[in-house]
């Protein structure tokens, strides 16, 4: 009886654990977008980049590869998160104003017309983004504002930082 009681308790505990884990997971699907919305998406560049502020218009031109050089004539290297990340979804919606299919078509067309020598570079995690922005002069990418470290440079957008009221990438 005692063994059965312990076993029942364990099952109850396990069930509670699974239930808690699932309840954490379910809101977790929507939570990252909320996090981006609340704390903002940061635009980050290599530390040596001589730019502190970009207008939304300039940012869009860079992400669309209409502007491919920084003012000091070094080439801009665009790092974009792989599909199915909340950061990428946010950027496609707020900067590119495209869905995934149009985004793909846009870059294929851009390369087809020989307007760019290569497409955006794909990164798979925030850590990878951080490592590469630190390592690659001229690189630009994006991540949640909470993930920005001192090793990279945070860019103001329309004169505002993610912590400011009215930051456009929230």
């Amino acid at each position: 009886m005692m063994r059965q009681g312990i076993s029942t308790d364990r099952r109850i505990r396990q069930s509670l654990l699974v239930f808690c884990a699932m309840s954490c997971l379910l809101p977790g699907v929507a939570q990252p977008e909320n996090l981006i919305g609340k704390n903002g998406l940061a635009i980050v560049v290599h530390k040596d980049t001589e730019v502190d502020n970009l207008s939304m218009h300039e940012l869009r031109n860079i992400f669309l590869a209409n502007q491919q050089f920084w003012p000091n004539r070094s080439r801009i290297i665009l790092l974009v998160r792989a599909p199915q990340s909340d950061e990428r979804d946010f950027v496609l919606d707020s900067i590119y104003r495209m869905d995934e299919a149009r985004f793909r078509q846009y870059w294929i067309a851009k390369m087809f017309r020989a307007e760019v020598p290569r497409g955006p570079k794909i990164v798979f995690s925030t850590d990878m983004t951080l490592d590469l922005v630190v390592a690659i002069p001229g690189s630009i990418s994006f991540m949640r504002a909470d993930d920005v470290t001192d090793e990279i440079k945070l860019i103001r957008i329309d004169g505002k930082l993610p912590s400011d009221e009215g930051y456009p990438l929230k």
């Binding site: 294929i108 087809f112 290569r118 570079k121 590469l132 390592a135």
Partner: protein, 362 residues
């Protein structure tokens, strides 16, 4: 015993396979630090296969449109090489063509310099879609810029400078080219030198205002002196203009071209060509977003006095209806009905079913 062609093919496969795998690996977009110092290669392929049926034609059937390979190499901070090669099915077999081959040096956004063989920067379609059937909404190109068109100089060989004016809300950019004019066969460019020593030149200005994302407008001018071989030398001036709204819902493209041809030896012998098309498409929403119905009107008129094209039977009118189904991220099926009239010879109907695809990892 393995015969010689098979042996050769196997040998080629062995030689090229590691290269293809390397290209594929680099084209996956995943970056490593070693990519930053090494030359970077990219591959893209385009292809289309169609079934067509035309009133009164005895040649209805399947046709391989074009198999196109794009190879590009980014060789350093500013230098890149781009090549485009096609194989086109014809009655006599396949014709292989170097469509584009250029080496390009980017000084800045304002100034990019290149030399090679290009799609002539004239109008919209010729640069925007060209051999990428998958890229264009419709199954077929407008007749005025069909492959082998005598109306538009589709390719040119020479040098090109291009650039985007920095920090301008109008999104102004320019292309200016100088090079070999048309060949004696006016449908071809002067691939082995200019036939008469008088080089062609062209300028195109484009605007893509940031306030109207998706809108693009362009105005271009092309000048050449042509030596057709079977007739005296002719001076050619072409003006082109276009407006394109490319946000898919809707998509609108209007392109107009006016060419004037004049005998060099007698300016009273001259004539004009007017050609245009207007295309409308609309990608449906939500669950139907894979579907994109479209329509296009086309017209080409050649003066009877045009010394270059009067006897080529190029007058043309068409009404086109179709639908595109993007059943896969990299492939589309298009069904297209055309009601058209060639050289005032009476209306005919034409139906085409086409599957087009792109090979890339992006």
């Amino acid at each position: 015993m393995i015969n010689r062609p098979i042996l050769t093919s196997l040998l080629l496969l062995c030689v090229t396979l590691p290269g293809i795998q390397a290209v594929h690996a680099q084209n996956s977009g995943e970056i490593t630090l070693s990519d930053l110092s090494d030359p970077e290669f990219n591959f893209m392929g385009f292809g289309d296969i169609s079934y067509f049926s035309r009133d009164g034609s005895s040649q209805d059937g399947f046709v391989i449109g074009q198999a196109v390979a794009h190879l590009s190499a980014f060789l350093g901070n500013s230098l890149s090489v781009f090549g485009e090669f096609s194989a086109t099915g014809k009655d006599s077999g396949y014709s292989l063509e170097v469509e584009r081959l250029m080496v390009k040096y980017d000084f800045s956004d304002l100034l990019k310099f290149s030399a090679g063989r290009y799609h002539t920067p004239i109008g919209y379609w010729n640069s925007a879609f060209h051999h990428g059937a998958w890229l264009q909404t419709t199954a077929t190109r407008p007749e005025m810029i069909k492959f082998g068109s005598k109306i538009v100089p589709i390719h040119f060989v020479g040098v090109l400078v291009e650039g985007t004016l920095p920090r301008n809300a109008l999104g102004l950019s320019y292309h200016a080219g100088f090079g070999n004019g048309r060949h004696a066969n006016v449908a071809r460019s002067g691939d082995a030198g200019d036939i008469n020593g008088d080089k062609a030149w062209m300028v195109q200005l484009r605007a893509a205002p940031s306030q109207f994302f998706g809108l693009e407008m362009g105005l271009g001018f092309y000048n050449d002196e042509i030596s057709p071989g079977d007739r005296p030398d002719i001076k050619e001036n072409t003006i082109s203009a276009y407006v394109a709204w490319t946000r898919e819902s809707p998509e609108l493209i209007f392109e107009y071209l006016h060419s004037s041809h004049e005998l060099l030896s007698d300016s009273s012998v001259s004539g004009d060509v007017d050609a245009w098309y207007a295309q409308f498409a609309y990608r449906l929403k939500d669950d139907l977003s894979q579907w994109k119905p479209y329509a296009r009107l086309e017209k080409t008129e050649v003066d009877n006095t045009d010394p270059l094209l009067f006897d080529q039977g190029l007058d043309y009118e068409a009404s086109i209806l179709g639908v595109r189904w993007d059943f896969n991220a990299y492939a589309a099926l298009k069904a297209e009905y055309r009601n058209e009239e060639f050289d005032n010879g009476g209306r005919e109907n034409n139906f085409r079913l086409q599957v087009s695809f792109v090979l890339t990892k992006l």
